[in-house]
Amino acid sequence: MGIKKEKRLRSILFHVGACILGFIMIYPLLWLVASSFKSNETMFTNTYSLIPTEWDIIENYSSGLKGVGGVTFLTFFLNSLIVTFVGTVTCVMSSLFAAYALSRIRFRFSGFWFGCVMVTMMIPPQVMVVPQYIILKKMKLIDTVASLVLPWGFGTAFFIFLMIQFFKGIPKELDEAAQIDGCGKIGILFRILVPIVKPAIVTSSIFAFYWIWQDFFQPLIFMNTTSKFTIPLALNMYLDPNSYNNYGGLFAMSVISLLPVIIFFIIFQKQLVEGIATEGLKG
């Protein structure tokens, strides 16, 4: 009885703590949602309050959805979806291949290339953007969807490194056994390794989706035509510090733009949920 009671008490304590922390974590999100309901005039007068003094939901959301310069918000939303979907898939695939090559295949200069992967993470993108622009311009890719996907589609160091770390956690004997069974390198990757590193792939996909979705600086520089803009570029167009700003519309669209990221996370994190792994290594 005593142990059971203690267990319940512990569980209650856990949930109370988790909820308090949870509230701190999502307070800005709640604030954002509440602000998207407030009228522009009262937006910043009673900032703390999560309950609007003057509701203006319809005006905020309809003015936001109206978009910018004759292009509706739906267009930006679809652009973002396409770019993010293509970007995420290609990015995770390319990274997976590169990580597999660098950690499980012995080939000439693989160590050198791993060093290169690491260095790409170190330089600030701010000084890369001008040369990148010049190259994309020469390739006639400025203002194309390709220029939005390209920085991601070839894989990024973060995911390559992450997956390498996961691959290293798997005994080499597995590969060797599979090889003896007649599996080629690609067969080993997809049949043996991918199921094991699924958590890494899921995590990478969650990150990739969000990063591409919210990517701002490079698209800002590379894109010119409004109708090809993604959401972050569109939201930036709502603001000018020197004139009257439609914060209501901006916040309303920010809420909408967060939905896909949160939904994507909720769906994919389920892959990480079911407690301690039971399938794991069966070798």
């Binding site: 005039e41 937006m43 004759g70 600086f217 010119n224 167009m237 709502y238 009257y244 700003n245």
Partner: protein, 436 residues
């Protein structure tokens, strides 16, 4: 829907059929081959919407001119522009800010508009020479100024009435200003009633320097223009004293005020009396409080030099690399001088530079009281305006940053006004000498 009707109006105005209007309106490009002009500007949602309408309207009357528009927010606008310029792909027409025009002009990135002014493509007959010449850098017309800005103080009449203070007039002095705020603090119980950041940029300081008969920068832009650091120290000391007596918010408090945005600032909500801004201030906040008024900044007590100057609001510049400079100049001319264009713009970008357009707009009766005040202010303040200073030196944003830093060190009690003034001179001169 909206712009199709506007299109009809313009066709009527040019009294020609739709197909013939272009060649009538404009002989040089009307029958010409199709031209695509790239144009970019910064702004918020409403500006993007009406500017797009303008472009559509222009294409309707000039069927051979098409636009590729890149509207943008302020954030990142100049990052992108410099990147484009670095790779030789600056858009044909660029909305340009005073802060950067010198840098672009001195690197020959923007075209000289003088030939188009001389051949009549760009009609500047109703634009004052003072304001027009703010776009002239090294003898070249680097940009066509679109709007006029003037330093102004905004105030909330209700707050002043509550404290029994008379409304400020254009003759008021800094002493009046200080005593008014003291009264407001005592009688109405409002602390920090002068909601001003004296370090926001160097404009207010520039005004201070000018009204004491000096110049902020030397003629060659290689050093500060005033000789005695006491001028700068006095400025910082005045504001420091006002902060210490809770008449002006300290930098920490001001940072908080800034997060409120213009529309919910303390002057608008009646929590402060004065704010320093530009002559379009009352227009900008009219949606939140339509009682706000503007007045010229206080006069110096001991000098009657004219401190105000006509400041260009924004420019249209044409890229040096543009292959359609003439067509670009024609469009700018239409933007500045045509009534139909300005009926759509409705002074959203600021007070139009053309006096004819200002008259047209006042007589059209479509303007709000705040907009009328804003125009009126330009007419009245012209009397108080001194010589327009030459364009800002290269590195102006770094000067602003240095000024903010040295000033803050005084307000945080880490330096005396004298030390700060000396440090401002030392750092600024070193920087200006290098980059100009």
């Amino acid at each position: 829907m909206a712009f199709s009707t506007v299109g009809c109006d313009s066709a009527n105005a040019e009294s020609s059929s739709e197909s013939g209007s272009a060649s009538l309106a404009d002989s040089s490009s009307g029958d010409g081959e199709p031209v695509t002009l790239k144009i970019t500007w910064w702004g918020s949602q409403s500006r993007h919407d009406y500017t797009q309408k303008l472009l559509d309207l222009y294409t309707e009357t000039h069927p051979n001119i098409k636009f590729e528009a890149s509207p943008a927010g302020w954030d990142g606008y100049f990052d992108k522009l410099s990147t484009q310029t670095a790779s030789g792909s600056m858009p044909d027409i660029v909305q340009m800010d005073y802060l950067y025009i010198t840098t672009y002009a001195q690197n020959n990135s923007i075209a000289d508009l003088k030939p188009f002014i001389n051949d009549g493509t760009l009609d500047v007959s109703s634009v004052g020479a003072n304001i027009l010449n703010t776009g002239e850098i090294n003898g070249k017309m680097a940009g066509m100024v679109l709007t006029t800005s003037l330093l102004a103080f905004g105030y909330n009449p209700d707050v002043l009435t509550k404290a029994g203070v008379n409304m400020p007039t254009s003759e008021w002095t800094w002493d009046d200003y200080i005593s008014m705020n003291k009264t407001i603090k005592e009688k109405a119980g409002i602390a920090d009633s002068a909601s001003i950041d004296p370090l926001y940029d160097t404009n207010l300081f520039n005004y201070w320097v000018r009204q004491h008969g000096e110049k902020l920068f030397s003629d060659d832009n290689k050093s500060l223009g005033y000789q005695d650091d006491k001028l700068c120290a006095d400025y910082l000391k005045m504001w420091k004293d006002l902060m210490d007596t809770d008449i002006v918010p300290n930098p920490d408090e001001f940072a908080q005020i800034q997060t409120l945005g213009l529309e919910a600032g303390p002057v608008v909500t009646g929590d402060a009396a004065f704010v320093q801004n530009w002559n379009n201030y009352a227009t900008l906040v009219a949606k939140s409080n339509d009682k706000i008024k503007i007045v010229t900044p206080p006069m110096a007590t001991d000098s009657d030099a004219k401190g105000l100057w006509l400041k260009p609001g924004m420019f249209f510049s044409v890229a040096e690399t543009s292959e359609h400079k003439k067509e670009a100049a024609e469009f700018i001319n239409w933007f500045v001088n045509s009534e139909e264009a300005n009926d759509i713009i409705m002074a959203e970008r600021g007070t139009p530079v053309s006096s004819k357009i200002r008259e047209h707009m006042v007589s059209s009766g479509k303007m709000t009281q705040q907009q009328k005040d804003m125009f009126q202010y330009v007419n009245e303040a012209a009397k108080l305006c001194g010589e327009t200073p030459p364009p800002d030196p290269i590195g102006m944003s770094e000067v602003n940053k240095v000024f903010k830093d040295v000033g803050s060190s005084v307000f945080y009690g880490q330096a005396t006004p004298e030390e700060a003034a000396a440090s401002f001179r030392e750092q600024t001169n070193a920087m200006l000498a290098r980059s100009n």
